[in-house]
Amino acid sequence: MTVWLQILDTAGAALVLLGAAICLLGVIGMLRLPDVLSRSHAATKPQALGMLIVLAGVALRLRSGMDLATLGLIGFFQLMTGPVAAHLVARSAYRTGQVDHASLLFDDLDEQLTEET
């Protein structure tokens, strides 16, 4: 049995490392991308994936029912709140003119906002 436990521990450690590496790639992407909206892609998606993988790794190491449920709760709240924060950043960036419209290929929202005023 101890062999199996060791395998689980090793797999958990590997998953934590993998998740952290994915988060790191996302952060590097954030530095490379030009504007706020593109950066919000890099800030949310690889992070969410990396976070889930890290949680899975931690779950493999903790292995008790209650802790697993708590990890599930953490994942749930992260997935619920991350997009909201990203949306608020994107929205306020758009409305305060932080977005370079010339670099966008086209923009359906711009027409609608200008129509209103």
Partner: protein, 214 residues
Amino acid sequence: MKRLVTFSFRNKDLPPFSAAFGARHRRVLDLPLIAWLTVIWVLLWSSLNWANLLTGAVVAVVVCLAFPLPKVDLGLRLHLWGILRLAGYLLYDMYTSGVKVTRQIHGRQPRRAAVIAVPLRCRSDLMLAAVAVTVSNVPDGSVVEVRRATATVFVHVLDAGDPAELEAARRSVWRLEELTVRAFGTRDEIERVAAPPPHAPRTGERPGDQEDRP
């Protein structure tokens, strides 16, 4: 004699699964909300025993009484099979989107991004919010703006140079919309979502133009 506690099955005016306190029903407690807060409390203490359960319930009731929410029926229904399907698709989508975005970010050639409007079929506020949250987790989409009046989400797409890519982004939004509403929506909304997606407005076309198409 006035009852001290009235449950919703005795009084149809109350929202489903709730209880009203006092003679004049000033305070209404939403029982599923209290159960959910208690579950979170127990999970935070990470051990299940009677003391935790009871203090959790007490804290939940006190929180609900201290910060009362408006008495509305949000239109939230839980469909177990729908939730499982949504979770499965979301996990798969998050995997592909993580990989895809990482590849796009680190690719050599410059990308042209764009903001596209995607009209939705569902109408209730809760469903719009839920769809916006799920859309943010899929491959090409980060929600810039949601227009409530026309139920339109505005999505920033990273790689817009390719028309097929744009079409794929729209389709994935609609697919997620259907999955989300089938997981959490009322029967009305599910029927609305079962209809084929509204005609995709091309660039420069106004999304309101095709609103009435079935």
